[in-house]
């Protein structure tokens, strides 16, 4: 079970990771996008980190919705509304809960992915964050169904997300600014898939 203190710890770890990978994410985005992913995400998660002490008194749903609102309000690029919607949708699933189990977690991740698909009008295979998140969710569900605990299932999810990030190098971007590049986006890993991987890795490390 994850309590709200653990959820706050995970969010804090995500914020620190994004800050430390800021330059690399921006470099990836320079290659195929508008070169602001790292800067934007770091600005958003800095605002999240500043808000966390205030948010930490709420239940799991309130915390995640608060995180989402901070991202929507402070990121400035497409990752703001996308990750913001993801956290808000995940928060809706966890409304009123002070402790969340593996199934709650899986449902929240599914809702987050659904939020990104809805907001971005996107699906897997378009060289986006979904190419890390969808395989991760699938691996998580398979492991949980086979009786694994959340830590082990998240381990498999992170592995699947890593493969997903590699896979983005082999496909042409169909969504976002990178889609303007067409074939020239081949060979580059997607910055959004990469930041998604980092967040999943931080969840895994904190479990």
């Amino acid at each position: 079970m994850l309590d709200t203190a653990k959820i706050v710890e995970i969010i804090r770890a995500m914020a620190a990771r994004i800050e430390s990978e800021k330059d690399f994410l921006t470099q990836l985005d320079n290659e195929i996008g508008d070169g602001d992913h790292g800067t934007n995400m770091a600005r958003g998660f800095k605002a999240v980190a500043e808000k966390l002490p205030e948010l930490s008194g709420g239940d799991a749903g309130a915390i995640l919705k608060g995180v989402g609102m901070q991202l929507v309000s402070n990121v400035g690029g497409a990752s703001g509304p996308l990750y913001g919607t993801a956290f808000m949708k995940a928060g809706n699933v966890l409304n009123g809960k002070d402790k969340i189990g593996a199934q709650d977690f899986a449902q929240a991740l599914a809702a987050a992915i659904g939020g990104i698909e809805m907001r971005g009008k996107s699906t897997e295979g378009e060289k986006t964050m979904l190419d890390a998140l969808c395989p991760a969710y699938k691996a998580l569900q398979e492991k949980l169904a086979a009786g694994a605990d959340l830590k082990a299932a998240m381990g498999a999810a992170v592995e699947a997300a890593q493969k997903g990030v590699e896979y983005t190098k082999t496909i042409v971007a169909a969504k976002g600014r990178a889609s303007y590049l067409g074939e020239r986006s081949l060979g580059h890993q997607d910055p959004g898939a990469t930041s998604s991987l980092y967040m999943l890795q931080e969840i895994f490390k904190c479990l």
């Binding site: 602001d36 934007n40 929507v72 309000s73 990121v75 400035g76 703001g80 509304p81």
Partner: protein
Amino acid sequence: MRKLVGIVIVSHSEKLAAGVVEIAKMMAPDAPIAAAGGMEDGTLGTSYGKISAAVDEVYSADGVAVLMDMGSAVMTTEIVIEDMGDRKVTMLDCPLVEGAVLAAVESTGGITLEGLAEKIKEAYNVRKFPE
């Protein structure tokens, strides 16, 4: 009495949004049109706060049409509108400059928001050169 339909221009760039408003005002100086460009600190990006404030600035019961550039401008506006509940605010899909001029002119002509949503489709077919 009816008011005029408000117009909001959302862009990643503060200068672009202000410039589009400037051009639209050439044709329709009295149009209630507001710019929501860039982030709070003037850097490139789209700001939830600026978009909300711009909608509030030109809002009346007759509604507001929002015109956006691309990507996060569209998605952030979507969230702003969702959070405004049942207020009458609609995104219009059109070329930004041509659409803004058309919207400003039609607004001062007294068009309704529903009428503008239909009329704006004409902006799709505006050609720079005759075929």
